[in-house]
Subunit: 293 residues, 2 copies
């Protein structure tokens, strides 16, 4: 066990302390850390990661109180853990954390995909008394790193909580309440429902924005005005993170891409046929849906 | 001739006065009106349109000085005219205005399409001494109406000036200078070049954003976060205006839609094949292009 700050050594945790551990102190993990402290949801926040320089910077910036680069053997001091690592690492991190946690520990995550993660965790079977309930705060950004973290990132934003059929009701309620106390509006969905919805509302738009950006010839860059910039903003996201998201949710994403292609084909046919009536109908549906947001 | 304000009657125009007429006092036409007054480019601005109530409101709001709902028979007082009507009406409006203008009058427009307009105007042959040089300020918005007009709308924004092969050099320079004096950075392109570029940077994104919005099921609306909202913002544009734009530029738009489909197909295949390397390459190109803006 490597606890790097003095306060951690002089202040051994006990069950009275509400200690939050954040695995992966990036934009989302860092914002969870800041929000829990600001809202009195935890007394102490431990950052867990691989890079001691980055973690020390997060301590210096006041995002976390202390950090670990290795997990304790057992009996860890935390009571709640938020996993903020890339989606293809979350299931494994949940198991690593659970293995050293005390009974009663609650684990949640911030991953953009829920089905594959929840399934892997469920089939791995966590130690008795340790619960995992997956979550996804819809409060991302194309920015990354704890430097972009904000205590109010979740304020008024939706967080999807996606319990496994196996997760117990008390753990579900506690995780739901955790996310509500960070300021977010919780919607409960099954992992599968979540993935189908997010394939349409987030993963498909990422592909569409990326295709637009990818097909822009350099010569036309100076003609890309605010419309193009808004439409492609999310294409600036981290390619590694997005490969993981798109492939972890590949089945639902493929379905969304197909639905997009079909609708795109209708617009294309209407333009090719100079069919003003049909094109107007299609654009009206789009405007009505957009205006409803 | 219907001049509605007293000042117009008591102050007959002469060649010393720089009088701007704006046909179609909406977001762009209204912003041209405000910018010309604020920057001393015109002494007087006449709004021309169909709806006297709207035009009177624009006078009351200080956007224009006076208005006409019918054109004079001949010998009109303006020296410069900006056509701000929908793209499928611009060519006709240029001819109507030119027919009653004095020699020396310069006409420009704000249309999002240039080829069809410039061609129609060129083949119609304007009266001797009256010149049309098409333009397109890349400063739109999904908002409409003079209420959204701003004197600084063109500040630092690109305006494409797209002379016909037939337009004379003096008129080109004067129109170029007109748009520069409103604060914009002028890029000169042929009408065909403009339409090919804008098909990619504006018309295609409008279709992609509309397809995303059109395929969003109502049940998923609450899961549409900032990424979805940004990506689809332009889908809130006026369907009638966009039918006109997409069909006036149908050939170039079809080419852009095909290029999009092809690239979209690559993303789709990479997802279906769970091909992380290929997907990462595609996302990296997209990110690089987006970051370059």
């Amino acid at each position: 066990m490597t606890i790097e700050t003095e306060s951690a050594n002089s202040q051994p945790s006990d069950d009275q302390n509400r200690v939050l551990a954040v695995v992966g102190v990036g934009l989302l993990g860092g914002s969870v850390a800041l929000a829990t402290k600001q809202r009195g949801v935890a007394d102490r926040v431990i950052g867990i990661g691989r890079n001691p320089e980055r973690l020390q910077s997060a301590v210096n910036a006041g995002v976390i109180d202390e950090f670990l680069t290795e997990l304790p053997e057992s009996d860890a001091s935390w009571t709640t853990v938020v996993i903020g690592t890339p989606v293809d690492r979350i299931a494994e991190d949940v198991q690593r954390i659970a293995a050293v946690s005390r009974p009663g520990t609650l684990i949640t995550d911030v991953g953009s995909v829920k089905g594959s993660i929840c399934e892997a965790v469920q089939s791995a079977e966590l130690p008795t008394g340790v619960s995992f309930v997956g979550a996804h705060p819809l409060a991302g950004s194309h920015e990354t790193g704890f430097e972009a973290a904000r205590a109010d990132l979740f304020d008024g934003k939706v967080t999807v909580v996606a319990p496994n059929p196996a997760s117990d009701q008390a753990a579900n309620s506690a995780i739901r309440s955790f996310w509500e106390r960070l300021g977010s509006r919780v919607i409960e969905m099954s992992p599968t429902e979540h993935d189908a919805a997010l394939a349409t509302t987030s993963h498909l738009p990422h592909v569409a924005a990326s295709v637009l950006a990818a097909t822009l010839p350099e010569a036309f860059q100076q003609l890309a005005a605010s419309g193009f910039k808004d439409t492609t903003r999310i294409a600036a996201g981290d390619p590694d993170l997005w490969v993981a998201i798109l492939l972890e949710n590949a089945t639902a994403v493929s379905t969304s891409l197909d639905a997009f292609s079909q609708s795109f084909g209708k617009f294309r046919t209407a333009v090719e046929n100079r069919d003003a009536d049909e094109l107007k109908k299609l654009l009206q549906v789009a405007k009505r849906n957009r205006d409803a947001l």
